[in-house]
Amino acid sequence: MMGEAFVILLVEDEPAHAEIVRRNFENFRLANRLIHVPDGQAALDYLYQQGDYADPAASPRPGLILLDLRLPRVDGLEVLKAIKQDPGLAAIPVVVLTTSAAETDMAKAYEFHANSYLVKPVDFPQFLSLMETCGYYWLAWNKYPY
């Protein structure tokens, strides 16, 4: 059901959080498809295959983007805006995954056409449950045209 190159792009500045996501994806045997970039600029470079990610073979187009909001250099919301304003990228589902439960952030994210907004729970079992549900939802149940 999923194409050969189904890649998940994780945009996360906090290495610890990236590790949490990676560990969860291991459960789905998808960890090898998870590509982690540490900031907004890097995410954009990856998507546009430029800078450090100029090699198209090493940076395949992702099928899903997990996006943190507080990012160095280019802010997560700006990344989201750039993706959704680009007709070539707008179709990629973007799941905002952040510690921020601020209403302004949520409103902004949906204004910029985020496909989902998830708040990282402080509680461990909840975080696990969220990642599991999120994984099932986006990787098993959700249908993609490619």
Partner: protein, 826 residues
């Protein structure tokens, strides 16, 4: 006073002229009609008369010819002559005699002759019809001889017979000898009795006219002789005669040779019309006449009818005109009645008026008339008042002073006088009055004083109340802290608001605006504020025209002040504005909003950035439990590492937060220091890391005295130096320069390095709270935010200059308050 229509009774000249004109027209038309009718009638009668005359004359002439023809038939007849010879006396031929007898009898019968005699040339009668006639007279016999001598048959004109005194005509026919026509054998005398045929024929008239008749006349000597029997005079034939000279007698005119229709007087002396003409081959004249009375009778009838009709018309016209006249008079009297009613009503109104009204003699000042109002107000009866003078109830006026007051009226300099006077009632109480004085012309050069007096007691009370109220509000107006201004809206030709006029402003207005009070009144808004259209015209116009109050807050750039403006509409087209200077409040509000925003952002960031390591710790604690259970040593070590990192981060974060919150809140006592001292202290603090990275540091030799929170100011340079070292990147020959330069108003400090540099798009972001450009570097992202706060506390600004990645960067900042404070302290 109601308008008085002029009510003079004017003679209806127009109506009279109209009537006259109509009468004239009717009369003229009638006369003209009658004249034409008369002419027509006359022509008709003339035609009738002349045709009758012509017919008769022709018939008479014919009759005469027939008679002559009869005579010739006997006188020139050979057979008759033979018979005559044979029957002559002496021959006694009875046969011939009988033949003659029957011949003559047939003529006698046929032609209605009266009698016929046959005589021989010696006057012996041969025979007669009827027989046995008396012997002819000698005169007749002489006539016979004359006729025989002439040898021609001839008419013996009308004559009166001596025998019976009747009028006859006769024809004498000589009978010629057939063998010798010159010789006469005898004579036949045919007598005609005109009464039998001729007279009736003459007197016959073709119409039924009563007075019409035909006369046959002839001249005899110097007279005119009537030959026939007349209608109105018996036995006139050959007896009635008139002198030929009688001018207007138609018969005489005919004999005198006049022909045609004439007017005249006939034998009866009556006015007649007559046709005159001679009868050919005879001495006779025919007069066909008719009485004018009868001839014009139908015309007279017509005249009468016409005149009656005209009279009727005139009567109608007269009646109509008279009706109109009456109507006008009725209207006039109606109007007069209404006017008098009005006058009566006015008189009553004046008498009953609440105002005091008096008429007085301007010389003696005696009251001539006082109305009910005066009676009621003054408390005197009307009779008492009329005996008094005007000054009797005016305690402040003497007769002389009052007359002096009237002087300008008497001199005609003024029409009316309005005075405030005092009246005293009969009971001695006094009250103020407003008196209108006037001298009214009464005709015949007489003038009467008219005084109209208004009790001002109530008026005065209201005035006092108003004055008190006015004073109250005036005081309020003058002392109000808010600026108040009253305006009137100025409209253009099509009614759109164009400008406004300042009517009044209070002192507070001047304080707020700085505009001079006297300079503002009656000036246009556009002039006053130097703006066209003037400020807030639309808002003000809406209130002035709509009437609903409106309030708004606004910043007025020309004065750099904030105002709260309340606009109300005291009357249409005007508006009052109440200005409240809210600049201070606004500034506070702005500051507060700024702080709030900052606070909000701060809490947001704190919650996020503190939550982030918390999530890490809690999650990895979970993993740690799992991994411990699984006895996975590698994983346990990793988990602990992540937790360690997170807690450390939290610790740093809390420390920095404390710092940030202290800036501006906790202020150390300002002390004197200098640029050199601060820079050197900072260099000392970071000497370790500078040496570690091998950075070459240079410092401007210039010094600048400063006054401020020394530890904080040191922190600025220290942090900038730490930053420079942290972002030196792979630079093989790292260098940092600390300096100060005078650019513009304030001295500008700077720290320049040749490290990584910053892309221009991040130049604004670097100073934000918790902003980091590189996720991998140490630090909380609060360093530059801290510096910025300190600089701002000292009234300065900070910015970064960098050519881009790898080009190094330079942080520049000012500290005006520290320098100013130094200047003041000196």
């Amino acid at each position: 006073m109601a308008e008085q229509p002029s009510l003079e009774w004017r003679k209806p000249i127009g109506l009279l002229i109209l009537a006259g004109f109509l009468m004239l027209a009717i009369t003229g038309a009638t006369a003209d009609y009658l004249r034409r009718q008369y002419r027509e009638e006359q022509a008709k009668i003339q035609t009738q008369l002349s045709s009758v005359g012509e017919l008769k004359v022709r018939q008479i002439a014919q009759w005469r010819q027939e008679r002559i023809a009869d005579a010739l038939a006997l006188g020139r007849n050979r057979a008759f002559a033979d018979l005559f010879q044979r029957a002559q006396v002496g021959k006694e031929d009875p046969k011939a005699r009988a033949l003659l007898q029957s011949w003559l009898e047939s003529i006698w019968h046929q032609h209605a002759y009266d009698r016929i005699r046959l005589l021989d040339r010696d006057g012996q009668e041969l025979l007669s019809i009827p027989a046995e006639l008396p012997k002819p007279t000698a005169a007749i016999l002489r006539g016979f001889q004359t006729a025989m001598a002439e040898g021609q048959p001839r008419f013996q004109d009308f004559y009166r017979s001596v025998e019976d005194q009747r009028v006859y005509l006769s024809i004498r026919v000589p009978i010629a000898d057939p063998r010798n026509p010159q010789r006469m054998l005898g004579i036949a005398a045919l007598r005609i009795d005109p009464a039998l045929e001729f007279y009736p024929f003459i007197s016959r008239w073709p119409t039924a006219a009563q007075s019409a008749e035909t006369l046959l006349v002839k001249q005899e000597g110097q007279e005119v002789l009537y030959l026939n029997q007349l209608k109105f005079q018996a036995d006139a034939a050959l007896r009635l005669r008139f002198p030929l000279e009688q001018q207007d007698l138609p018969a005489a005119m005919a004999v005198r040779g006049q022909v045609g229709v004439v007017a005249g007087r006939d034998y009866r002396g009556k006015k007649v019309l007559a046709d005159l003409r001679p009868v050919p081959d005879s001495p006779w004249f025919l007069v066909s006449r008719m009485d004018q009375d009868e001839a014009f009778e139908p015309f007279r009838q017509q005249v009468l009818g016409t005149i009656l009709l005209a009279a009727l018309l005139m009567l109608c016209t007269g009646v109509t005109i008279a009706g109109l006249w009456r109507h006008q008079r009725a209207r006039y009297f109606q109007a007069r009645y209404a006017q008098e009613q009005e006058l009566a009503w006015l008189r009553q109104a004046i008498a009953r008026s609440l105002n005091e009204i008096c008429l007085f003699d301007p010389h003696t000042l005696r009251i001539l008339f006082a109305n009910d109002g005066a009676v009621r107000n003054l408390g005197y009866s009307r009779e008492e008042l009329v005996g008094m003078t005007m000054t009797d109830f005016k305690p402040t006026q003497s007769p002389d002073s009052f007359r002096a007051l009237l002087a300008p009226l008497a001199a005609g300099e003024q029409e009316t006088l309005v005075l405030k006077l005092t009246h005293r009632r009969r009971d001695g109480t006094e009250y103020p009055v407003e008196t209108h004085l006037q001298l009214v012309d009464r005709g015949h050069g007489l003038r009467v004083g008219l005084a109209l007096m208004n009790d001002l007691t109530e008026h005065q009370r209201i005035l006092d109340t108003l004055q008190f109220s006015e004073q109250k509000f005036r005081t309020l107006f003058e002392n109000l802290a808010e600026g108040v201004a009253l305006h009137e809206l100025v409209l253009d030709e099509i009614g759109s608001p164009l400008d406004y006029l300042v009517l009044d402003v209070n002192p507070a207005y001047r304080r707020h605006t700085g505009l001079d009070l006297d300079a503002t009144r009656n000036r246009l808004g556009s002039e006053l504020y130097g703006l066209a259209p003037p400020p807030y015209l639309d808002e003000f116009a809406q209130v002035a025209q709509g009437g609903l109050p409106y309030a708004f807050e606004t910043y007025y750039p020309p004065m750099e002040r904030h105002f709260r403006i309340s606009v109300i509409c005291p009357r249409p087209g005007q508006f009052a504005t109440v200005f409240e200077d809210i600049t201070e409040r606004k500034t506070r509000e702005d500051e507060l909003r700024q702080k709030n925003e900052e606070m909000e952002r701060f809490t947001y960031l704190v919650s996020h950035d503190l939550k982030s390591p918390l999530v890490t710790v809690k999650t990895f604690l979970g993993y740690l439990e799992e991994d411990l259970g699984k006895q996975d040593g590698e994983r346990v070590k990793k988990d602990l590492l992540y937790m360690h990192g997170a807690t450390e981060k939290m610790g740093r974060l809390l420390g920095d937060l404390l710092e940030v919150s202290r800036i501006g809140r906790v202020v150390n006592t300002p002390v004197r220091t200098s640029f050199q001292a601060l820079a050197r202290e900072a260099l000392g603090a970071v000497a370790g890391s500078l040496a570690l990275r091998g950075v070459e540091v240079t410092l401007d030799e210039v010094d600048l005295p400063l006054l401020g929170d020394r530890p904080r100011l040191v922190e600025v340079w220290q942090n900038l130096l730490e930053n420079a070292v942290k972002y030196m990147g792979d630079q093989p020959g790292p260098r940092i320069h600390i300096g100060v330069e005078r650019v513009g108003e304030h001295p500008q400090f700077f720290v320049r390095d040749n490290g990584q540099g910053i892309e221009s798009r991040y130049h604004g972001k670097v100073f934000g709270l918790f902003e980091k450009l590189d996720a991998r570097t140490e630090g909380t992202g609060l360093g530059l935010a801290l510096i910025k706060r300190i600089v701002e506390v000292h009234g300065g600004t900070i910015r970064v200059e960098s050519e881009g990645a790898g080009q190094g960067s330079c942080f520049l900042f000012t500290l005006p308050k520290a320098i100013q404070a130094q200047g003041e302290a000196r």
